[in-house]
Amino acid sequence: MRTARLVLSLLLPFFLSGCWQDQPINDRFLVFSLAVEPGRSGGDTLWTFQMPTPDYLEGFGNSGGGSSATGTPFFDIQVRDGTFSGAIVKAENRTSRDLYMGQLQTVFLSTDLPASRLRSFLDEEGRTGELDHTEFLLATAGSASKAMSTKMPQSPLPSFVVTEHFACPGCAEVRLDVPVYEAQSAVLEPTTDLALPLVEPSSHGYTIARVVIYRDLAKAAILSAKASRGWAWIANRIQKEAVNIPMGGGKASLRGLSGKTSYAIKGISRGRPYLDISIRGSAILSGLPPGVSRATPSVSKAIALGASKAVRDEVASAITEAKRVGSEPFGIGTRVRVMAPKVFESPASWREAFRRLPVRVSVHVSIEGTGSRL
């Protein structure tokens, strides 16, 4: 009797938590990608679920990695519904199998999606147990479902291109990945606005080089490429940027530019507080300007100064654009409020305070070595 009670008490949490859901993978459609955009009618949202076709899967399984996988690699199911869960149910009603959302990797969000619906999606996503909340969010200026289905030369399944790109933290110059859990915490944080990477069509499928910034979950602006890099510097997302510095009628080039950004509120005692953004970075010199044959100390210093100025310009550009639209997508507010709680008493007022707050950017880039001497 004691043993039975013990076993029952051990099993009870599992039954109560619903961990026992048991449905084999070949009885489900594995949803890898999702597009969310406003529907044609006012209150609806258009949901597009993308999943590999059974034929493609079979080829993938039998060829040990998909080298001989043939047929249409994926198919889409589009439904209109006001809620995420409602959309899943509708989609399941239109297929022969249940949808499995646990492998969702990318969510393409239309920039036209109203704030209320974006909030609703993020809330519902957080409550859906099957999802592991690590899928990447991407913004699209046009049709999200079309962007999601863009053919990529790298892989028959477009979502794999994004996840492989984002899943390697050291591979990209700038880390633009925003997993859904980060976005959900940004929504909860009253001093921070959402920023998402923008998917743009190109001759090789699509590129991801710019950032869409939001204000209260509504699109505020699409940052320029330069400002997007500035956003990445402030958000400490720069890893190994390559920079060309105009010099002597040509360009000097640096690679592997990375650094650490720190913030401070200064000038409080004088009654004129300002935000001090300090960046210390280092890079490798990879190309000298025309007419310069050796990287003498003075040449290196000049190039480093040029790089510092370039980074400063990028950061300033990002701050200017964000201030212009009244967004704070950098996540500075939380830390700044800790530094100067008396100055910024109300979290809700931070965005306005940021708009008026003078910002001083100091950048110091040093050259660690040359391309031939790492």
């Binding site: 048991d22 594995l30 590999p52 492998q103 592991d132």
Partner: protein, 540 residues
């Protein structure tokens, strides 16, 4: 008496009196014929003794009864008894019989009849071992062990001459515990040969052997071995007590030894280590363990046995510690795969696919497309096939068994994939599991894992990875609660004994293994020359 034939009546009365006389006569014979064990002793009357002997051995075509006259014609009547096939016929006919027939007639006449066995034993039986017995039961037991019994007229003492020539296998290398560059001696079916093999390898007089006869019918000799001054006496006493406690009819196999020695005989896990290797026994004895040898079984039982003992082989101590450590880690991985592979497969494909990397999940799902069964049914089908192949291979000759195993695995597996009954991934999982099962060096330890494999599969099907964790927690709890002859089964892991970990998952160099496992509570904790024997002399 009207109507009754007088002649018939007289005939019946006569028959009744004859039957009464016969009953009385039979009643007088009963004490002579009845075998009363140790309570009854030979009387010295040769005819009566011969009848007793016949009643003791029963109607048995294997028994040879050879009447003779000691000293030839006119000598002292005697009877020789022995079992055909158990004795050396040539020795009897060429040495013992000529010696008995050539005894001078006056020699036996000069001594009292009751002392004739003394003269025979001292001067006229040219054999190494001649014992005497005044008990029918011990004489009959010796007879069954290959001795020749000599009954002499007028002498109540039975002479037992050791002329045993019992057919047996030669000393070979055990097939299940083979080793490279190591000793190749394995036990035989004969206890005295096995004891000799052990004694030959242990030069120290500290080796103690205590023999016990168990089994009312089999009367099997059981030998308990330990090293005096090393092995904890409490363990020896406990082992002997448990063996003596056995009162069944048959004590035939090592499994019987295991049953009486195990702290929990119903345990799924073996709590007694069995080996056919002589050197394994020597090593265990030197570590402070006890070995139990059984007549008629080419194996020894070693107690106390810990979980790690079943994963340690002679090869571990023949190879360098680097090699051994690597092999042991591989064994640990093999154990993990053999127990968890199918369960993890079921959990990841049915309950927790979100934990699988996307591309791997594509492969798994792709391999599953078209398969009509859920992963659980796939696993059950394949493992039933594997068990059938394993069982069939055991019944076939070695070469045919290997062929069947290979052909079965390849042909059946391939056919099942083509027929769409199971997925290709499933075949990989089953193959890896089946191979990993063989990394367990000890045969008796494979059975628990083969059974628990099903528990893990059921747990995974029910609760996924959480179920596997839950089942593992129960398993570990069970394992740490087990003891072998009072020693914690999971030592040195639970209770944790850091010093003993030097010879567990990895093996340290020999120089670092200076002490015996603390869990054995050996009298001499440090390894080294065997201590001097206890003058008290091995009384447990």
């Amino acid at each position: 008496m009207t109507g009754i034939n007088d002649g018939r009546l007289r005939e019946l009365v006569g028959l009744r009196s004859a039957l009464g006389a016969m009953a009385q006569r039979l009643a007088g014979l009963v004490p002579d014929l009845r075998f009363k064990g140790d309570a009854e002793q030979p009387s010295g009357h040769l005819g009566m003794s011969a009848r007793r002997m016949k009643s003791g051995v029963g109607r048995n075509s294997q028994t040879i009864d050879r009447p003779l006259m000691i000293g030839g014609v006119g000598g002292v009547p005697a009877h020789l008894y022995y079992y055909d096939g158990l004795v050396d016929d040539a020795q009897i006919s060429q040495t013992i019989l000529p010696a008995l027939l050539s005894v001078p007639k006056d020699v036996l006449g000069q001594v009292p009849p009751a002392d004739r066995h003394l003269v025979m034993q001292a001067a006229y039986l040219p054999v190494g071992s001649v014992e005497t017995s005044s008990s029918w039961s011990s004489a009959l037991a010796k007879l069954a062990a290959g001795n020749m019994a000599l009954l002499v007229e007028g002498d109540p003492t039975i002479l037992l001459v050791d002329v045993a020539k019992i057919p047996h296998r030669s000393v070979n290398e055990p097939e299940t515990e083979q080793v490279l560059l190591g000793p190749r001696e394995g036990f035989t079916d004969l206890l005295f040969t096995n004891l000799a093999l052990v004694r030959r390898r242990i030069g120290s007089p500290s080796l103690r052997v205590r023999s016990v006869t168990r089994g009312k019918i089999t009367r099997t000799e059981v030998a308990v071995l330990w090293i005096e001054g090393v092995t904890n006496r409490r363990l020896v006493a406990r082992a002997l007590h448990r063996i003596r406690r056995f009162e069944g009819d048959m004590f035939l196999y090592q499994s019987d030894v295991r049953t009486v020695l195990e702290d929990r005989p119903k345990s799924l896990f073996p709590l007694v280590r069995t080996t056919e290797r002589v050197d394994e026994v020597i090593r265990a004895l030197a570590m402070g363990k006890i070995a139990v040898l059984l007549d008629g079984t080419p194996a020894a039982s070693l107690v106390p046995a810990t979980f790690t003992d079943f994963y340690q082989t002679t090869q571990d101590y023949v190879s360098s510690f680097w090699d051994t450590s690597l092999v042991r880690v591989i064994r640990a991985i093999g154990w993990f795969l053999s127990l968890y592979s199918p369960g993890i497969y079921v959990a990841l494909t049915a309950v927790n696919p979100d934990l699988v990397p996307s591309k791997l999940l594509l492969s798994l799902a792709g391999a599953h497309e078209g398969v009509p069964f859920v992963p659980l049914v796939e696993v059950v089908i394949m493992f039933v096939v594997i068990e059938i192949l394993r069982e069939a291979a055991l019944r076939l000759p070695t070469s045919l068994g290997q062929t069947l195993g290979t052909v079965g695995a390849i042909v059946v597996g391939e056919a099942m994939i083509r027929a769409g009954i199971v997925s290709s991934t499933m075949i990989i999982v089953v193959t890896v599991t089946a191979l990993a099962t063989f990394t367990v060096p000890s045969f008796e330890m494979t059975a628990p894992w083969r059974i628990l494999l099903w528990v893990m599969i059921a747990s995974a099907e029910g609760l996924g990875l959480a179920g596997l964790l839950l089942a593992s927690a129960v398993l570990i709890t069970r394992l740490v609660s087990l003891t072998s002859l009072g020693v914690p089964y999971m030592a040195p892991f639970g209770p944790l004994r850091p010093r003993d970990l030097k010879d567990s998952v990895v093996r340290f160099p020999v120089e670092a293994l200076k002490r015996r496992p603390s869990s054995l509570e050996a009298v001499a904790t440090a390894k080294g020359p065997f201590p001097r024997p206890d003058p008290a002399g091995g009384q447990a």
